[in-house]
């Protein structure tokens, strides 16, 4: 029975996908959207069932469906594993997924290809579920690549615009760089353990005696995979570009769920990473650096979605920082709260964009507070949450990260704190530019300003509520999440006793956030500063505004050489190689042409050759011994 239910949980979104692919065009848009939403909702409800069951008996549930791939030292089955970690992920994936589906019914209503949009979204949820509940690394890899594919499809959803397609392609390829790493990690682990099943690998590792060098290589390879998917340095550049997709996509895939797959994977493999402290250090450093770099770029972006994108990268960096420090539960906590407030922020920005008929530049917004009150208030709550203001969800989770960082390494703590301050600044910059002061867009737009319909606002409200109170799952002193995750983590996380030390850190964090907010307030409210046109940005600001020219750097370093190499191969080397083969023929032909001259037609010459031949043969026979 459970097996059937698990299958329904997995396949329900897939059924929605099939329906929308084959019949989506024939039914009305509403039905197509409703089917898409309901199928995800079914998964959500089933996840709750399983979650309740697990919460009761604490027994993970594993099923094996059929044999899939076999190699010389092991066989892989297509198996599902429903344990604490995967159910937790399922809950927010399907939960937020349902909300975003609901939101999309209204948001995408005017698009002619709405059924396709829902098909892709459903497919995404299906793959995300696969990723989360796979019982071995390779099934996870199916989901891993599958969500990458859906991300590709959805970023390039408006396929008529080639720059969107470029962004989609870029996302896919940068993900694939990571995927190669992931695959290599899988290979190494497969070679070592003769299995890829999480439970079995964990058992094998607990026996110890493994070569830490090889383990380190595997861990590093897996981390590269995580970098690709979760947009960490140096593979993060695809995520901001991915904002080309429709906003619900950004909310679902590029903020709440898919990009957290890397964190999921590292947490899943925590028993491996715990044994490789060097790699953990690398993860922590990469995470902190990403948080800082992305946050700094976010400071000066003018596209509302770009700001949120960099914010996402930055927050993901913080999560990796926590992972690197071995605080998996903290990272997971932040993933969850982040999912709430970031999804809310994206959906809110979507609501704004919807209201402005596609305008994304904050310089042309402003004063929307009155026209869109629900949007404003929900976004405000989420902004407070992300900025880390007490007692919103983000405060608790971010504070935990900072605390862990402080315990391990002061430098990392400083970096993370600066990133947090910047976060507070750019988020409020976003709020001020969007909702305060006067409207800076056209009269036409101003005329049409309105609050979004209820299908859009309901998810916003729900998410805002969660963003406000979501921290409750892991309050200091009430650490439900920590207990819940205990079975899947190897090292136990020590409790913080809330001493003076901790309160002081909380205070510093809060103060930093407030500082960021005030800084933004002074600049954008007091001085009523509006960012300049692109051309007028100069100096270091320009560097930041242009994202430190990282894209250009990559183009210069990799894409261009590759293309010129390709051109060289195509236009020079290929014909040359071809000529080498032809040259045999050419030479033979050339000799033939010359040889024709020898055949003069003169009998005398022929006879002469004849006699020479006789002479040569006789001479040879008598001289040679």
């Amino acid at each position: 029975m459970d097996k059937t239910l698990a299958l329904v949980l997995l396949l329900s979104p897939f059924a929605g996908f099939l329906f929308n692919v084959f019949f989506g065009k024939k039914v009305s848009k509403g039905i197509s959207g409703a089917i898409g939403t309901i199928t995800v909702l079914v998964s959500f409800l089933l996840s709750i069932c399983f979650f309740a069951q697990l919460n009761q008996n604490g027994k993970p549930f594993e099923i094996s469906l059929f044999d899939w791939i076999s190699v010389h030292n092991f066989k892989l089955d297509f198996g599902l594993l429903l344990d604490q970690l995967s159910l937790l992920w399922l809950l927010f994936v399907t939960g937020i997924g349902s909300l975003i589906h609901l939101y999309s019914i209204s948001y995408m209503h005017d698009d002619e290809n709405m059924h396709k949009f829902f098909a892709y979204l459903n497919l995404f949820v299906f793959f995300m579920i696969t990723l989360v509940i796979g019982s071995n690394l390779l099934v996870m890899f199916i989901g891993w690549e599958g969500v990458g594919l859906c991300s590709y499809l959805l970023i390039g959803f408006w396929y008529k615009n080639q720059s969107y397609n470029d962004a989609a392609k870029k996302a896919f390829i940068m993900n694939r760089i990571g995927d190669l790493g992931f695959l290599i990690g899988i290979f190494i682990l497969g070679m070592m353990f003769s299995t890829l099943n999480f439970v079995e690998m964990k058992q094998a590792l607990s026996a110890g005696n493994e070569n830490t060098l090889i383990l380190g290589a595997a861990a590093l390879a897996l981390f590269i995979g995580a970098c690709g998917k979760s947009a960490q340095l140096p593979l993060y550049t695809w995520l901001p570009d991915a904002m080309a997709g429709p906003t619900p996509v950004s909310a679902l895939i590029h903020a709440a769920t898919m990009v957290t797959a890397g964190i999921f994977m590292v947490t899943r493999m925590n028993f491996l990473f715990d044994l490789t402290p060097y790699i953990q250090n690398i993860i922590a450093i990469v995470g902190a650096a990403t948080a800082l770099v992305a946050a700094s770029i976010g400071l000066l972006q003018n596209d509302i979605k770009k700001v949120l994108a960099y914010s996402t990268v930055s927050q993901l960096g913080l999560m990796f920082l926590a992972l690197g420090l071995g605080a998996y539960n903290v990272a997971v906590f932040h993933v969850i709260t982040h999912a709430f407030f970031k999804a809310c922020l994206f959906l809110g920005s979507g609501s704004v964009i919807h209201g402005l008929h596609g305008e994304q530049d904050m310089r042309k917004m402003g004063g929307l507070r009155k026209a869109m009150p629900i949007t404003f208030w929900t976004m405000m709550i989420s902004t407070l949450a992300i900025a880390g203001i007490f007692p919103f969800a983000g405060f608790w989770s971010k504070d935990e990260i900072l605390m862990v960082a402080f315990e391990h390494n002061k430098v990392l703590w400083v970096v993370a704190s600066i990133a947090s301050i910047m976060t507070a600044f750019y988020m409020f910059r976003l709020m001020y530019l969007t909702f305060f002061k006067d409207f800076r867009g056209t009269e036409e737009q101003k005329h049409h300003l309105h609050e979004s319909p209820s299908l859009i606002t309901i998810p916003l409200v729900i998410l805002a509520v969660l963003a406000a109170i979501g921290g409750a799952i892991n309050l200091p002193g009430n650490t439900w999440l920590n207990y819940f995750l205990e079975p899947v983590l190897v090292t136990k996380h020590e409790e913080h006793t809330l001493g003076a030390h901790e309160y002081m850190l909380m205070g510093i964090a809060l103060a930093g956030a407030v500082f960021g907010i005030l800084w933004a307030y002074s600049k954008y409210i007091k001085q009523a500063f509006v960012p300049k046109e692109d051309a007028e940005i100069v100096g270091f600001s320009k560097t930041i505004y242009n994202k430190y020219y990282v894209d250009e750097f990559y183009t210069f370093l990799i894409v261009r050489p590759l293309n010129s190499l390709s051109n060289f191969f195509r236009t020079t080397l290929e014909p040359a190689l071809g000529k080498v083969v032809f040259s045999f023929g050419t030479v033979a032909n050339g000799i033939g042409t010359q040889g024709k001259k020898l055949q003069t037609g003169s009998v005398g010459l022929y006879l002469f050759a004849f006699v020479i031949g006789i002479g040569a043969i006789i001479t040879y026979l008598f001289i040679a011994k």
Partner: protein
């Protein structure tokens, strides 16, 4: 009933097709090819022991040559690939009209006959005869029914013919030499030979020349792109879908077990060369302007990986190679067919002249997309199973091989998606693109169905080929 039934059916099919006249030819050919596929499937399921299907009869006394056909998992898997793809290929051509179609379809069936023979033959000379025989039909198919400038085509096709023939002739010397040692061409007898290391090297490289040109492994690939481009799509499909696999199959069946010492000695070089092909093919494909040429180079990259798998001499390498051969056979046929579908409507193969097709034909776009994804080995497609297994075998040799070979994952994604973007996406094209016809859709759906089904459940094929590969591996490690 044994495997000769398949061969006879194809040969008779070719004759009947020839005499059935231009109007009926395509249908007759389809019926026969479907019949062959049915017979193959029936044979596979009819007997408990695959070896019961083998056939042996004396043919020539001096030199001793036998009509020996060996049926084991490996050969039958390849036969199945041939007999399954042939009807698809024939059916896919229903939208084209050919002059002298009776000749055309007869040649196609004859080629299928020769290729099936190559996969089944267990006698060196018999094998060689089928190997060469397969070359003649494709030569004429490409020459007479090909496209593009006649002079250019002629040059490319003749080069192809002479080049591959040249390689094969060295293989013939190899066989002649082996005969002087074993006094027999039978596979078993050749397996039993005790050759010295030097002899093995000579044999190995005589065979290698033939296979490297056929597969092709760089730098012996120069015939490929031009011929793919110039041949009619049916010919290209036959070449890329099945004929390339002849070379790879032969590596597993003939080259490695007969000269294992040489294979072991030169393993790094061979794998290195194969992997260089992967990278080189991918990079060249990046900037191709012609759709068929791009697919040709993608094929170069893919077969490079397969060859690398073969040369690892591990069970995973061999198995992955076989799986990938089958998967690649289907996917490349599908992709070339997609190119042909576009050509039927736009009469161009230049990518720059395409674009903006998606809005006009969502059905075709989806199918094309799935093929592209299968080609880049997305998990869930059969290609992933093959590629995964091959890469897994590479890491058993050296981690650098897998890192370099794995670039196919990245570069493959790059050029295929770029191609897809430039051909299908973008602002709606001004030229009308009629939706795919039912016939076209059936072909594509069958291919896609195959790839997806076996992508999730490759067990039947794995179970079919694994025992025979273990046997071969035992011979290699004797």
């Amino acid at each position: 009933m044994d495997v000769t039934t398949i061969l006879l059916l194809l040969l008779v099919g070719a004759l009947v097709t020839y005499f059935s006249g231009d109007k009926l030819a395509s249908k007759v050919a389809l019926v026969f090819s479907l019949g062959t596929m049915a017979v193959t499937l029936y044979l596979l399921n009819s007997s408990a022991q695959l070896s019961d299907l083998s056939f042996y009869a004396n043919w020539i006394d001096a030199p001793k040559v036998a009509l020996a056909f060996k049926a084991d998992g490996l050969s039958l898997a390849m036969v199945l690939l041939t007999t399954a793809l042939t009807p698809l290929i024939i059916f896919s051509s229903f939208g084209n009209s050919f002059n002298n179609s009776k000749n055309f379809y007869a040649l196609v069936l004859f080629m299928a006959f020769a290729m099936t023979g190559t996969f089944l033959a267990a006698d060196g000379l018999l094998y060689y005869i089928f190997w060469e025989l397969a070359l003649i039909p494709i030569y004429f198919i490409a020459l007479i029914w090909g496209n593009g400038d006649a002079e250019d085509r002629k040059k490319a096709v003749v080069k192809f013919f002479i080049y591959t023939l040249a390689g094969s002739l060295f293989m013939l010397i190899g066989f002649a030499y082996l005969y002087t040692k074993a006094d027999s061409f039978l596979l078993e007898d050749l397996y039993k030979l005790n050759l010295s290391a030097t002899e093995q090297c000579y044999i190995f490289f005589a065979f290698f020349l033939a296979y490297a040109i056929k597969i092709p492994i760089i730098p012996f690939h120069t015939w490929q792109a031009k011929v793919y481009q110039k041949a009619p799509t049916v010919g290209t499909m036959l070449l890329s879908g099945i004929m390339l696999k002849m070379g790879l199959y032969s590596v597993i069946r003939w080259q490695l077990p007969i000269a294992p010492l040489a294979a072991k000695t030169y393993m790094p070089v061979l794998i290195g060369l194969s992997i260089a092909g992967v990278i080189y093919g991918s990079i060249v494909a990046l900037r191709q302007k012609d759709l068929k040429k791009l697919l040709a180079y993608s094929s170069l990259a893919h077969v490079g990986l397969i060859a690398a798998g073969c040369y690892t001499l591990t069970i995973d390498g061999l198995r992955g190679a076989v799986l990938q051969m089958i998967a690649h056979g289907f996917v490349i046929v599908g992709l070339f067919f997609a190119a042909e579908i576009i050509y039927r409507r736009y009469e161009t193969r230049t990518i720059a002249e395409m674009g903006g097709i998606r809005a006009q034909t969502p059905r075709f776009t989806s199918m094309f997309m799935i093929l592209v994804l299968a080609s880049v080995a997305l998990p869930g497609t059969f290609n992933f199973v093959g590629e995964f297994t091959v890469l897994y075998s590479l890491i058993q040799i050296n981690i650098w091989f897998v890192i370099l070979g794995g670039t196919t994952i990245i570069l493959g994604g790059y050029y295929m998606l770029k191609m897809f973007q430039n051909t299908m996406l973008g602002e709606t094209n001004t030229k009308v693109f009629a939706d795919v016809t039912t016939n076209e859709a059936i072909t594509l759906v069958v291919i896609i169905g195959f790839l997806l089904f076996f992508g999730l459940y490759p067990k039947p094929i794995v179970d079919l080929v694994t025992p025979s590969l273990h046997q071969i591996l035992e011979t290699i490690n004797r």
